[in-house]
């Protein structure tokens, strides 16, 4: 167990990544009760947007200069894609039965994957993403790789900014109102269409931050990266209580920790040596999800049971 601090750090970092993506699921769900299964692909296009920016910069540009530009490009691409998806794929279906937009989301997800696959140069293989060079930082027995510094700084900043936005600004409060009761919010003069677009856009911006963090971390982006990441983030959102932004981050971190600890320690428990290790980490993550939902069907921080889905 002497490497416990390191495994906890691994879990926290991975969990923060899941959490950033989970925000997108939870915001959209909180406002329009739509599970936007294309959100994983919004992450992916953000990654490719950032990569494009990096490739467009002259060679030898230092990453400290490149990173903000990549981030801006990623956010731009992700946000535009998400807003376009909302406008052309989801809005026409807003009054349709719940299943229609859900299927649309799945279709959109496949379409986005295939578009990048077919038209982005060399996207048929994993594309190399820049990394922050240098040795890992050692804090006691914990080593943190340089590329993760971005995520460690970005994730809390994003959460603070979002918290401030939702509770302190006019638009944020309008968003809360829309999520509580869209019809009444409309009667109060809130432009709910604008609020919905905003929810998609904020989720997409977070997705782009997550995509850059993912790219820096694993040194690559590829057209399928959104699938697994999206699935995990969706799980995190449900775990934390879908519709609650803090729940999404909490769910992400819980999931990340569960995966790291399952990989690290389950097989050392007596009688469990066959059920531990990396191969079983997803199993344990979902066992945790099931247990949490059995005890708290609304998720860790969820306030009410979803009556529509």
């Amino acid at each position: 167990m002497h490497d416990l601090p390191q495994q906890l750090a691994n879990g926290l970092i991975l969990g923060a990544l899941y959490g950033l993506v989970a925000i997108g699921y939870t915001m959209v769900y909180g406002i329009v009760q739509l599970i936007n299964f294309a959100h994983g692909e919004i992450v992916m296009v953000g990654g490719f947007g950032a990569l494009t920016a990096y490739l467009a910069l002259p060679g030898g540009t230092t990453l400290w200069l490149a990173l903000p530009l990549m981030l801006i490009a990623g956010i731009l691409v992700s946000t535009l894609t998400a807003v376009a998806a909302e406008r052309f794929a989801y809005r026409p279906l807003r009054s349709a039965p719940r299943l229609a937009p859900l299927i649309t989301a799945i279709g959109l997800s496949i379409a986005l994957q295939q578009l990048v696959f077919a038209f982005y140069p060399d996207a048929k293989k994993a594309r190399v993403f820049p990394k922050i060079p240098g040795d890992p930082f050692e804090i006691g027995s914990v080593a943190i790789q340089r590329s993760d510094i971005f995520l460690i700084i970005a994730a809390p900043l994003c959460m603070l900014a979002l918290g401030w936005f939702v509770t302190r600004t006019r638009s944020g409060r309008a968003m809360q109102a829309t999520s509580q009761d869209p019809d009444t919010a409309k009667l109060m003069g809130i432009d709910t269409d604008r609020i919905i677009v905003m929810a998609f856009a904020i989720g997409a911006a977070f997705a782009a931050v997550a995509a850059v963090a993912y790219g820096l971390r694993s040194g690559q982006v590829d057209f399928r990266m959104g699938f697994l990441l999206g699935l995990k983030a969706f799980t995190a959102a449900v775990l934390g209580g879908i519709g609650n932004i803090y729940g999404a981050m909490l769910g992400g971190i819980t999931l990340g920790l569960a995966e790291a600890l399952a990989t690290g320690y389950i097989q050392h428990l007596p009688g469990m040596h066959l059920f531990g290790g990396g191969a079983w980490k997803d199993v344990w993550a979902f066992v945790l999800l099931i247990v949490v939902l059995l005890v708290r069907p609304q998720g860790l921080l969820g306030e009410r049971v979803a009556d529509r889905a």
Binding site: N10, L14, A126, S218, L228
Partner: protein, 402 residues
């Protein structure tokens, strides 16, 4: 090429009413065209290897046609994409069997894909030669490890050596040459990766090496932080990874990013230029690959020059030479069948080609090409490569004796 002529060649095992009619037209035509199917991952993360396979087969076919290698028979290829997964591979196999022109198939890359295809090809008596499969059970049966070897499919051949040779060769190298006695074992749970890791482990332990820990990852994982931590605290001197470069690259990178500066060794599945691209800190990582390095073989100089001259955008990669030889073995098989049948292709040549391929023997790109009683190559040479200055450099070549 004319459709009528094509019909002549190719009766599936179940026979067909067209027999006579097409037999006639086959005689009438001056030259008949047959197809060599290629199944490999042409897209997806293993496409670097797959495209090398497709292009090399195409090169072999082009040259056979130019040289008029088989008088009266022209070859063409039909390249299908399996994306490295068993299900599309199986569909492709069915499609190739159904295409009456197809006389032999080169591929696939992955052992797990081969598993899904073998029965289909065997039922149709269609010869299949893989340039890359190393899973032992494919040719020697599920019980090979306990010494009971039985060939399950007589239509299956390969020009690649098996994991029964490759894993132990790597184990010998790590202990005897690199002097690493403590290894952490990781595999991706696929047919190839798990098989390779198992054969490595057997030999490594037999040689007195110590397995410091074992891990299994999912082939689609790109985040290995938790596994890396286990490797770090295990005190291993090297990692042996059974799997392919899309996961091996980031795994090795994350090891080094976490300050674990020990080499990662793998099989031919990681010996790709893309491994180095995905892993800028790969210096010192090791990989075994089947056969001698193509660049060093005198027989391969022409292949390399021809491949360059053909102007393919993608490199021939690890399996180019073996793919060329696989295709050439099929061509030689067809040649023998034609020669035995008074200079023309018989009505239902597939089964005869299978028999003929069993007997082929020629000097190919990768050395002498012939098959033993299991359909495995008789060429048991292997090479250890290491990453040096952004390239795979030859570390040691040798023959595994057992």
């Amino acid at each position: 090429m004319s459709i009528a002529v094509i019909g002549a060649l190719s009766l599936t095992a179940c026979g067909s009413r067209d027999d006579k009619k097409s037999g006639d037209s086959g005689q009438a035509g001056g030259s008949t065209t047959v197809t060599i199917g290629v199944d490999a991952p042409l897209t997806g993360d293993l496409s670097a290897l797959g495209l090398g396979i497709r292009n090399s087969v195409e090169l072999a076919v082009k040259q056979a046609n130019e040289k008029n290698e088989v008088p009266g028979v022209k070859f063409q290829i039909k390249g299908l994409d399996d994306t490295g997964k068993p299900a599309p591979g199986q569909q492709n196999a069915t499609q190739l069997v159904g295409d009456k022109d197809v006389i032999g198939v080169v591929g696939p890359l992955n052992s797990s894909v081969a598993q899904s295809m073998q029965q289909i090809f065997n039922d149709a008596n269609l010869v299949q030669i893989s340039p890359a499969n190393t899973g032992v059970a494919l040719s020697q049966g599920e019980k090979w490890a306990s010494g009971v070897k039985a060939r399950p499919f007589k239509s299956y051949f390969r020009t690649a050596t098996t994991d029964a040779v490759q894993g132990p060769f790597a184990a010998d190298y790590l202990i005897k040459d690199a002097k690493k006695t403590k290894v952490f074992l990781i595999d991706d749970q696929k047919t190839y990766g798990a098989g390779l890791a198992a054969t490595f482990k057997g030999q490594f332990v037999k040689n007195g090496g110590q397995i410091m820990g074992e891990e299994h990852v999912n082939p689609d994982d790109r985040d290995f932080a938790a596994v890396v931590t286990k490797v770090k605290s295990s005190g291993a001197e090297a990692v042996y990874y059974g799997g392919e470069y899309p996961a091996a690259g980031p795994l090795s990178l994350q090891l080094k990013d976490a300050g674990v500066n020990i080499p990662l060794m793998g099989g031919d599945g990681i010996q790709s230029g893309d491994f180095i691209k995905l892993n800028p800190k790969g210096q010192g990582d090791l990989a075994t690959a089947v056969g001698l390095p193509v660049e060093q073989l005198p027989t391969a100089a022409k292949f390399i020059a021809d491949y360059k001259a053909a102007g393919y955008k993608d490199a021939y990669e690890t399996y180019g030479g073996y793919s060329y030889d696989s295709a050439w073995a099929i061509i030689q098989g067809v040649k023998a069948v034609v020669a035995a049948n008074n200079g023309k292709l018989p009505d239902s040549p597939r089964a005869k080609v299978v028999e003929a391929v069993q007997k082929v023997s020629f000097e190919g790109v990768t050395g002498k090409v012939s098959f033993d009683e299991f359909g495995d190559t008789t060429n048991k040479q292997l090479t250890v490569y290491t990453v040096k200055d952004g390239k795979w450099a030859v570390e040691k070549s040798g023959t595994f004796s057992g």
